[in-house]
Symmetry: C2
């Protein structure tokens, strides 16, 4: 069994990007610039955004954080999006989700200029991805593709089961892995809450992507010997072992599943750190205008 | 075994739409208006477009056909698209594919205003479909959903295999059938040319959508007893039996597969006639501004 070290790969990617930034600057070009909009004071969102900003600094990007109180009006938020759309110095930006209930999340996402949508949440980027056109791929699926690629895990002709059909992970993941691309060409089965006899699918899978958000859902008897298991789950559960009072749990019962696997991602330190690497990669693509000319 | 009569369902849908048009006119509203751009003289394209225009007339729509020679410049074609985008009387329009090789097909598709893209080929409509937002769904997948719906074929929890990953049929079909919607909630496996041991997937499928364009590909030993088989193939093969000199062949070896099925679509007369019904349904949605406000 080999552990897929997302933390290490993420840092390697960041180092490569830091080098690229130096090259851009040496060519007299400007620093790539990522902006983030954060609404309210949700603990998780604060942590994620802080970590994104810090990574920007590490790789030599400019970053801007725009904060709004949780009672900000939709109109005002849309105006902030429009301002970032029109700000030529900002290459890409994100609106940290979730947004407060009085704000139409889809409306805000669709207001982001597709060429600056480095989260890949705009429908046009999702559609371009499906249609094999240049697109920003959203962070988690893109990160998983990177992991499979850098560990040289063969995907072509493999039987892959994706558990969970969320818009952000499961659905795009199932599409990406089925495409006729280098990390792709899997026969993909998308399983979800309505799937009957899930085990009959997972026990035949060469690759399992578990993205349903249910701690320790995937047990050893659901996995075949030698499978590759990618664990996307990151549920906070109360813990007396940590200072913070909680622990991150994946969707995979790691202790019993890991010994059967050829490769497995841990939680934390697997898929999680890759999402930030993806965002930074997308921002660099935006700065270099490689997706939208 | 019950035959799924696409021709009958398509006519029923057209009758319902013709009634709706009468109601719109009685309310003092204008006729829905579909325009089509046809480039060159490809026989298949001519037939398809003529049939679309005729159906428009049958249901009481206005229709406009814009013809261009096969050597039309990309610039001129894009101008025609822009004119239709700006023509308030035109509710929706299509650019009949394929286009000549010197024209960038994607560029033309992306130039169509999403709110008039009744073919559902624009990436934004594809992305909105994936994200469960209001969208024009492309004709063939939409037609298949209608057939399953009108024959009350249970899909929830069913094991569905889609063969073929084309952008226009297989990929969107696999996404639609996996969604948490009325005709949906299938566990969907998307199979393609790189799939190993295809039979091991198809023989377990409750529903098979065959969309690879290979005549009589699906044989009886690949299908389980009681399966629902949807045949999307329409390959022209030479035939001495018909006046035209060719016959349409589906992807399913009908004679041997049909007796094992609970439901099956014939070719011709199954999925084919539904594509026009879908286009007309989308045009009505456009005229009523139900997708884009």
């Amino acid at each position: 069994m080999q552990l897929i070290d997302g933390k290490k790969i993420s840092l390697e990617i960041q180092e490569t990007i830091a080098e690229e930034v130096k090259t851009l600057l040496a060519q007299g070009k400007k620093k790539p610039h990522l902006a983030a909009i954060l609404v309210g004071n949700d603990g998780g969102s604060e942590t994620y955004v802080a970590s994104k900003i810090k990574t920007c600094e590490n790789v030599g990007f400019n970053s801007t954080l725009l904060r709004f109180p949780s009672d900000v009006s939709e109109e005002k938020l849309l105006q902030a999006v429009e301002d970032l759309n029109n700000n030529d110095d900002v290459d890409g930006f994100i609106v940290q989700l979730p947004l407060p209930k009085h704000i139409n999340e889809h409306k805000v996402i669709e207001a982001v200029k597709p060429s600056k949508d480095v989260d890949g949440f705009h429908p046009i980027n999702m559609g371009r991805m499906v249609l094999n056109l240049p697109a920003y791929v959203s962070a988690t699926p893109y990160g998983i593709v990177q992991l499979l690629d850098r560990y040289n895990i063969e995907t072509s002709g493999k039987n892959c089961v994706v558990i969970g059909r969320s818009h952000i992970v499961g659905s795009p993941m199932s599409i990406l892995l089925a495409k006729n691309t280098k990390v792709g060409n899997c026969t993909v089965t998308l399983c979800h809450s309505k799937t009957k006899d899930l085990k009959s699918f997972t026990t035949k899978a060469d690759i399992i992507v578990c993205a349903l958000g249910s701690p320790e859902f995937l047990k050893a008897d659901m996995v075949k010997e030698g499978a590759v298991v990618i664990d996307v789950g990151t549920t906070r559960v109360a813990s007396s072992e940590t200072k913070s009072g909680f622990k991150l749990k994946g969707d995979v019962k790691f202790d019993e599943v890991a010994p059967k696997c050829s490769y497995i991602t841990p939680v934390p330190g697997g898929v999680g750190p890759m999402t930030i690497a993806s965002l930074i990669m997308n921002t660099l693509l935006a700065a270099k205008k490689e997706i939208y000319k």
